[in-house]
């Protein structure tokens, strides 16, 4: 059942991403996404943002300077693949914490959906709403799919100085798991690689 949903979403999101992109007016990003593989790469400064985690609380990336941050952009609350991915991260949280890392999940769903989703899945990290203007932060990271209006399934590991040290864009519908994140966290004490 899990995999049949995967295939559905794969099909759905294959259609003309680049065509739809040209007609958008809200695009303010420094590095506009041109292809699916345009997520920000290691060595770049992670763009700061401030998004709601609850109706009256905001979380900013800059709040976490001095510790590693994992950003997990995902397409939507409630869809089965994401549910697996974020539930898995909740389960693996103790491993992330061993690296003093904070995990922030981001999608374009609104805060009420996030709150219900987070409660239902017993998530133990902030789930941020990139809701208004829709997808602004996702775009800054090259992790927005214009054709379907959702964040891409993209992961970033940011070091204690706010520099992206690892990024990964998953193929549509594929849940990336956590091994890449853990490897990236382990590699944080190595010198920054620039591309």
């Amino acid at each position: 059942m899990k995999t049949s949903m995967v295939q559905t979403s794969r099909k759905r999101s294959r259609s003309g991403a680049s065509k739809a992109r040209t007609s958008k007016t809200r695009q303010k990003s420094v590095n506009p996404p041109k292809t699916e593989s345009s997520v920000l790469t290691p060595g770049k400064k992670a763009p700061n943002f401030s998004l709601n985690s609850t109706p009256d609380q905001k979380v900013a990336l800059s709040d976490f300077l001095g510790q590693p941050v994992i950003l997990a952009f995902y397409p939507a609350d409630w869809s089965p693949v994401c549910t697996d991915q974020l539930s898995l991260y909740a389960e693996i949280m103790p491993e992330f914490k061993k690296h003093n890392a904070e995990l922030l999940a981001i999608s374009v769903d609104n805060i009420w959906s996030h709150l219900a989703f987070s409660k239902d899945r017993k998530l133990n990290f902030p789930v941020l709403a990139d809701f208004e203007p829709k997808g602004t932060v996702s775009r800054k990271y090259g992790a927005f799919k214009e054709a379907i209006g959702e964040s891409a399934r993209a992961l970033f590991v940011i070091d204690d100085k706010g520099v992206i040290r690892w990024s990964h864009l998953s193929p549509d519908g594929v849940n990336p798991g956590a091994d890449g994140i853990l490897r990236a966290l382990e590699n944080l004490n190595q010198p920054v690689q620039t591309n």
Partner: protein, 203 residues
Amino acid sequence: MATTAKAVTRRAGSTRKTRLETAEQREIDNPRLAVPVDPGRDHVQGPPTATLTLVEYGDYQCPFCGAAYPEVKKAQKELGSNLRFVFRNFPLTRMHEFALNAAETAEAASAQGKFWEMHDFLYEHQSTLGDPSVALEFAKKLGLDTKKFQSELSQHKYQSRVKEDFDGGVRSGVNGTPTFYVNGVRHEGEATAKDLVKALQAK
């Protein structure tokens, strides 16, 4: 990483597309079993000489694993002595409150040589996992030393083993339950006998 990047062509439905892919990206998108099968430690069904190996990371309370359970049986029947099946624990404890206890229950039965009997029983009685007396009754029926069985469960003697399975799964790219590895590579198809057999036999 970017220095090892090369353009590869991927099939996407009927169209072909090119994108940059690094060695690391390939590894994450097509993960491999990070912890090799160890017959001395793993729960293995099928002969050591089997040419095909199926590894499952499963959670006894997960409905998808429950649905996959008879499919694995079918695949085993079809492939006979050509297949070796390995089960490892991957309890999603935040989602499934009884999953960890169930995993420990199977391990406690394993300590007395009855892993597969208990494994099968738990999957066949998923709705009773919240009531430990059901598995205990079955342990009695299996002829287990229930005093030892119960004391090991209350001391969580096998929790560290379950955690080891879980950690190995995370490093192998387990991304939900069940996750199967077909001859060492993560299975991206359906968890059905048909898909599993097809993947196992593909060369």
